[in-house]
């Protein structure tokens, strides 16, 4: 522990080169650091997913100011799986067992992106859900959409989305 002064023979005037290292203040410093860091520690990493609303409230505003809209990409969550549509053809992605097929949705979105030049630069998507769908599944769906580059997500009711 620490260091010890070498025994001197008593002859000559040489001072010992070894020095005691006092560990007690160092331990005090570590204890203070630990106390401070314990107070400022963040144990749960929370984050957010932004959505805009496309439902009753927004539709009411649109009725007052009708405007021509570009093609919309809509992902509908039903109790049987996903329905992906761009206003024309509807693609159904059934559930895998009891879970939604997120990988299948990702693959379909990637194919859509590669299909036309318009889709390649598109960043907005609408996620519509039926009433009985759990919030967990909605979040995972939105996460999958963001992962494929559709970061402007609008969340709405399936009836309000017109599906």
């Amino acid at each position: 522990m620490g260091g010890g002064a070498a025994p001197t023979s008593g002859k000559g005037s040489k001072k010992p080169l070894d020095a005691d290292l006092n560990l007690v203040p160092f331990i005090d410093l570590l204890c203070c650091c630990i106390a401070f860091l314990l107070i400022t520690a963040v144990w749960t990493q929370m984050a957010r997913i932004d959505v805009s609303q496309k439902g009753k409230a927004e539709n009411a505003k649109e009725e007052q100011e009708p405007k021509e809209e570009p093609k919309k990409l809509i992902v509908v969550l039903t109790k049987d799986g996903y329905i992906l549509t761009d206003g024309g053809e509807k693609v159904e992605i059934p559930m895998k067992g009891k879970h939604y097929d997120l990988l299948g949705l990702g693959e379909k979105l990637r194919r859509l992106r590669a299909s036309t030049p318009d889709m390649a630069t598109k960043t907005d998507i609408s996620v519509a859900s039926e009433d009985g769908v759990k919030y967990d599944d909605i979040i995972h769906t939105m996460d999958a959409c963001i992962q494929e580059g559709f970061k402007d997500i609008a969340l709405s009711d399936s009836a309000a989305a017109g599906i």
Binding site: L37, A47, I139
Partner: protein, 189 residues
């Protein structure tokens, strides 16, 4: 100065005969404390806690009855009014709270008939008051954080979102647990 072997000094200076006698011939009562291991342990503690250090601190506290979903591609949380939606359970109908104040019951929202009015009156009125107050202090941004349990159905959530939008808070931030480093894999082209 010569180095001497440590010995019991209490008997030497205070002449306690009985203690001297008791200590004679017996093993030393002193035990060396190995501080090296303790310093190593404290250093590892400090390193571990440094990894969990955050300058922003906890911006939001999670209610104990809410389990939020996980997500990978997320953004960092900002301060805003918090609407919590807890699930109905065996002993509780589940509550919708706004900054800790109860404004509705989740079970009631889930029972509402489809096609009816989606407005949660108390939530909308309270948010309008907050909006007016925020406008006075010039801190109104139209953002609101929704902290919802993963088992809550969309039927209840859409009413919360609609009521918030009516009050002028159309920008909804869904609070989630960050999974991974937050950046996630880049979108494949």
């Amino acid at each position: 100065m010569p180095v001497k072997k440590p010995e019991a000094i209490i008997g030497k200076f205070y002449k306690m005969k009985s203690l001297k006698a008791a200590l004679k011939g017996k093993k030393s009562a002193y035990a060396a404390l190995n501080l090296t291991a303790m310093v190593d342990m404290l250093t590892i503690f400090v390193v571990f806690l440094l990894m969990t250090f955050s300058a922003t601190g906890e911006l939001q506290f999670i209610q104990k009855d809410i389990t939020m979903p996980d997500a990978v591609r997320v953004k960092s949380l900002e301060t805003a009014h918090v609407i919590s939606v807890s699930p109905p359970g065996p002993g509780s109908p589940g509550f919708v709270t706004l900054d800790g104040r109860k404004v509705a019951e989740t079970a009631e929202l889930m029972k509402k008939e489809g096609g009816g009015d989606w407005k949660i009156a108390q939530l909308t009125e309270t948010l309008e008051i907050f909006k007016n107050n925020d406008k006075l202090t010039q801190s109104y941004k139209g953002n609101v954080i929704v902290q919802c349990d993963r088992q809550v159905e969309f039927k209840a959530l859409k009413q919360v979102m609609y009521s918030a939008a009516l009050a002028g808070y159309g920008n909804i931030n869904f609070a989630v647990n960050q999974k991974g480093d937050g950046a996630g894999p880049a979108p494949k082209k």
